[in-house]
Each structure stands twice: as structure tokens, then as C-alpha cells.
């Protein structure tokens, strides 16, 4: 109900009657007349200092991961036995591993995969969650009960053991069809996404229950909007705030899940150095080459921490129930 409470005692109160101009794209205009929901969210997001700092840090990380390999020309699999297990130096800023491969290059390359897995698994989870939550929320009755039973069942499944089981059973088949890298990527994304949609489904369903009784949906219904149109045009856009927050945190969880699988030796094959895979290779050399484990581990930590903080900031910005 607190959705109409604008947490903006300063900006809007100066010109309260001027909000009639519906120009959502007019953000760049010299005279600010109205505030679009996105601008309002951004204004609230900026108040969360750690979230802003995290956004900057994460952007730097993404930039490094995307463009770093273009600038840092050392190949990830350049074997150099004269520089085995060397500590950080100018030539190898993160040191080298047991084959003399440059860890900096490997961390940069692995970041691409780890982040890509995180994003793709998040999208998969959001997609499944929104579809199931929307169907349950709009149809109610027996369909809703059945879908929620499935959701609860999935919530009580032991996720990591099942992830391991599915990967164990399916990896060879998919590798045969798509090749080792793409097959593993598809499998990991499907599996992580397939086990993380439940919170989103619950959120969407709860949102649908409250939104479908609101006046504007009733008005659309009275105007003869079909159910799909009500859902897609009227209810779903208003239910997206909490979903975006959940999705952000899902990225972090998916990165952790992928790293965990790789760390257990069941993720990507050894020639694809994701962050978790580098840690897996490094853990037996912890006493003589701690840098090998520290840099990829720190990269995972930093990515997850910043994403969690951004999620926290987004919750402040998008979740209207939590006005500061």
C-alpha cells in the first residue's frame, strides 16, 4: 500500500503541481519538470553510498574482464617452466601457476565465463520464475495450488547435491552434442537457473495477488483487455521492482554456484580457467604459492560483494515498501 509514498521530501515538494507533463524521456532537459520512475529510483539508489561504490567497482571489473584480454596480450595457456609458481612481478602481476601460465591473464579470461554464467543463469531463473509466478498468480485455484506445491518442493530440494547429480549424469551427453565448452556452459546455466527460480516465482505470485485487484487493472479489464494483455501491459511492469532486486542477488548466487562446481572439479574442463577452476588447481599448492589461490578467490569475493551491495541499493530504490 505504501507504493504511493514518495520518499522525496525535498525535490518534489518545491514544485508539487508541476508533475502533469508526462515526459519520461525528458531527463536530459535543462529544466527538470517531472521525475520518471527510473530517475526517482536512481536518485534513491545514489543515497546508498556502498551501492554506488560497488557499482563503480563492478563496472571496472566488467570493463577489465571484457577489454583486459585485448590489452594484456599474454595467452592464458603459455607454458613457461622457467617461471613456475613465481610470485607477483611486473611481468606477471598475479604471478604464475605450476606450469608457468600467467594467472592475471587466466583471471581475466575466467571472469568472462564466471560473469557470463552468472548473468545467463539469472536470466533463466527470472524467466522461469516470472512465468510460473504469473501463471499461478493470475489463475489461482487448482493451477495455483499445484504450481506452488512444485515451488515448495523445489525449495526443499538439496540444491548442491542435485546440481552435482545432474551434471554427473548429463555432462557427457551434452559435451557430445555441443562440444566441451558450450555444452558445459549450457548445462551449468540450465541447472543453476533451474534451481533458483523459486523465490522469484513466489515474489511474482504475491505481487500478482495484490496487483490484480487494483483499480487500474480493473479499469483495463472493464475496457475489455484480454487476460494476457492485462498481465503483460498492466500487472507485470508494476511487479518488476522486487524481481529486479531478486535477479541482482541471483547473479551473485549463480557466480558462487558456478565457482563451487568448478572448485569441486565438476564444472568447466581444466583448459577453461574460470575463477573456481583456478582455485581448484591452486588449492594443493597453498603452502608454496598462496598468490595463485588468493587472486581468483578475491575476484570472486569482490564480484559477489559488489553485486550484493548493488542489490541492497536497488532494494532501497525499487522496493516501495521500504522507504528510508
Amino acid at each position: 500500500m505504501a507504493g504511493s509514498t514518495l520518499a522525496s521530501p525535498t525535490a518534489e515538494s518545491q514544485r508539487p503541481l508541476d508533475a502533469a507533463a508526462p515526459s519520461p524521456a525528458g531527463g536530459a532537459a535543462p529544466r527538470r519538470r517531472s521525475v520518471s520512475p527510473a530517475q526517482e529510483a536512481w536518485r534513491r539508489f545514489r543515497r546508498h553510498k556502498m551501492a554506488v561504490v560497488s557499482l563503480v567497482l563492478l563496472s571496472i571489473m566488467i570493463g577489465l574482464v571484457l577489454f583486459g584480454p585485448l590489452l594484456w596480450k599474454l595467452p592464458i595457456n603459455d607454458i613457461d617452466f622457467s617461471a613456475r609458481l613465481a610470485g607477483p612481478s611486473l611481468k606477471h602481476p598475479f604471478g604464475t601457476d605450476d606450469l608457468g601460465q600467467d594467472i592475471f591473464a587466466r583471471v581475466l579470461y575466467g571472469g568472462r565465463i564466471s560473469l557470463a554464467v552468472g548473468l545467463a543463469a539469472m536470466m533463466m531463473a527470472i524467466f522461469v520464475g516470472v512465468v510460473i509466478g504469473a501463471i499461478a498468480g493470475i489463475s489461482r485455484g487448482a493451477v495455483d495450488t499445484a504450481l506452488m506445491w512444485v515451488t515448495d518442493l523445489f525449495l526443499s530440494l538439496p540444491q548442491l547435491p542435485l546440481l552435482l547429480l545432474v551434471i554427473y549424469l548429463f555432462r557427457d551427453g551434452l559435451k557430445g552434442v555441443f562440444g566441451p565448452e558450450v555444452g558445459m556452459f549450457i548445462l551449468i546455466v540450465l541447472v543453476i537457473g533451474g534451481f533458483r527460480w523459486m523465490p522469484v516465482a513466489r515474489l511474482v505470485r504475491a505481487q500478482f495477488f495484490s496487483l490484480r485487484e487494483k483499480e487500474f487493472v480493473e479499469a483495463a479489464r472493464a475496457l475489455g483487455a484480454t487476460t494476457p494483455r492485462q498481465v503483460v501491459r498492466h500487472i507485470l511492469p508494476n511487479a518488476l521492482g522486487p524481481v529486479i532486486v531478486a535477479g541482482t542477488i541471483d547473479v551473485a548466487a549463480a557466480i558462487i554456484a558456478e565457482s563451487t562446481l568448478s572448485f569441486l572439479g565438476l564444472g568447466f574442463p581444466p583448459d577453461i580457467p574460470t575463477w573456481g577452476r583456478i582455485l581448484f588447481d591452486a588449492k594443493d599448492y597453498l603452502d608454496i604459492a598462496p598468490h595463485w589461490a588468493l587472486f581468483p578467490g578475491f575476484a570472486i569475493f569482490l564480484a559477489v560483494l559488489t553485486i550484493n551491495y548493488i542489490g541492497d541499493g536497488l532494494r532501497d530504490a525499487l522496493d516501495p515498501r521500504r522507504v528510508l
Binding site: M50, L153, L157, L160, L165, L169, G173, S259, L264, Y309
Partner: protein, 319 residues
Amino acid sequence: MGPYLLRRLLIAVPSLLGISVVLFTVLALAPGDPFEELATNPNVPAEVRVMLRAKFGLDDPVWQRYFRWLAAMLQGDWGFSFISRVDVDTLILQRVPVTLAVIGLSQLLALAIALPVGIISATRPYSVFDQIANTLAFIGFSLPTFFTGLLLILLFSIKLDWLPFVFRADISATGWQWWWENIKQSIMPVMVLGLFQGASWTRYVRSAVLDVIRLDHVTTARSKGLPERTVIMKHVVRNALIPVVTLVALQMPAVFGGAIVTEQIFRIPGIGSLLIDAILRNDTPVIMAVTFVFACLVIFFNLIADLLYGWLDPRISYR
């Protein structure tokens, strides 16, 4: 309490059945064959393979195989490990206690951190203590368990040389010495799991206490002149714990996931490391059974959470 417990138990049965269906579907959909090991082994003649397939009914329709498998599981016939040549249930029974001990201790540690810190944070919101605790909690649950494990090994085993980093199940010492050795080797695994859980629970406790502390009955309790301690412990915390228990129950699968990783890092002989070993060695019966045991454990802990819920909130237990 009796009928409530019975009802909760009855609700757990369909979940278990559902999990068994999911597990079996995954197994049935998988490409390849659980008898591939035998098929590629040249020492096994073809007719023996056919007989084995017939004995285990691998050529029957899926639903028949499911019911046969379920019946066997219910009768305690969990199969035979391909690798260690032991019945799966004895293998698992050997290892469950260690896992439960590590998980239980780490949950106690998590509670011992999360309750006081969360309550103090919520009673002084936005104070320095709250901000520090909040930052540490964020860091705590952003650190993946496998990385904390490695960091602790690096610090306590390699740099300081205080604690052993390989868990040994066969300590020869007796009496106090035995206990001391076991405590020493359990410290790091318990810390890894406990700190991770404690960090996320701290946030739950804090927000739940913050929700309750503003309610009218708390103001009333204060204006009656009750000491602050009584107000917090009896009027706030007990009510705040209700949503916390729900969230903790929802986290149970993640706890077991963390336990697998921890057991693997410290080489603890629990069911988590059994699962990883079985996967790396293609030991299908063990993998299926351990996954099912994990599922049962999750349901069991959810049941405990439900009972706790009923104890905390009398309105629920007698409904």
C-alpha cells in the same frame, strides 16, 4: 503438540515422494547407462550383462522401474557400491554422524553470533556498532565457503601452524587427548560454515527485531516500567524469532551445500565428501542414495523448524 507433529509428518511424506520422483526422473532422463561400467569391462561376458539387466529390470517401462526402486529404498535395500564393494546404507551410516556433528556445531556457532549481534544492531540502528556489524555481515556472506576455507588453512595451518588442515577420523589417542585433537581439527570447518551462516542470519535477526521493536506492545511494555532487558528478551526477541525460523528453514539446503564444500576442503569423512568421491568415480548407487539422504535431512530439519515455529508461536500449534 501431538496432532500438530503428526500433521507435519504427514505433510513431509508427499514432499519426500516428490523428491524421489524428481531424483528418479533425472536418473531416467540421463543419457548413458548405470551399467556402462560393466558394459565397457571386457571381463564381464555379454550374457552376464543381459542377465544383470534383466535382474535389475533395466528394460522395463520407467514407471515400473520407479516403483521397484522406491520399494527397494523403503525396505532399506539401497544397493551396492560399485567401487567400495559395500552396501550403500552401511557406507552412508558410517559417515552421517560426522556430517551431522559438523553441521550442528556450525549452526550453534552461527546462532551464537547472529542472535546477540543482530539484536544489539537492531536496538541501536545506524549506530557505529550496527554499521560495522552490517558491513561484516555483507562481507561474511559474500565470501564463498571454499575461499574462506582456503584462507583459514593459509592462516592457521600454513602461516601459524596451529591447526591441522586434514581431518583425521582415526586418531589413536584416547581420553582427553582424543577430545583435544578432535576439537582442534573441527575448529576450522565449523568456523567456515558457522561464520557464513551467522553472517546471513545476523541480517535476518536484525531486520526481524527492527520490525517488532516499533510495535505498540513494546511501547506498552516499556511504559509499564519493565526493565529494558525484559522488554527486549521477552517482548521483542521471541516475536522476532518467528520469521527468522522460517528464513532459517529455507536456508537449510544451502547449509548442506556448504557442508559438502567444507567436507571436501578439509577432507572430512562425511556424506558430502562421499558424494564427491562417488561422482568422480562414477559410483551411481552411492550418488543416488547420498542425494536422497540429503533430501531427507533437509526435510527433517524443516520439520524441526516447524516444531520450533509451533513452540515460538502458540497461535500456530493449536490451530
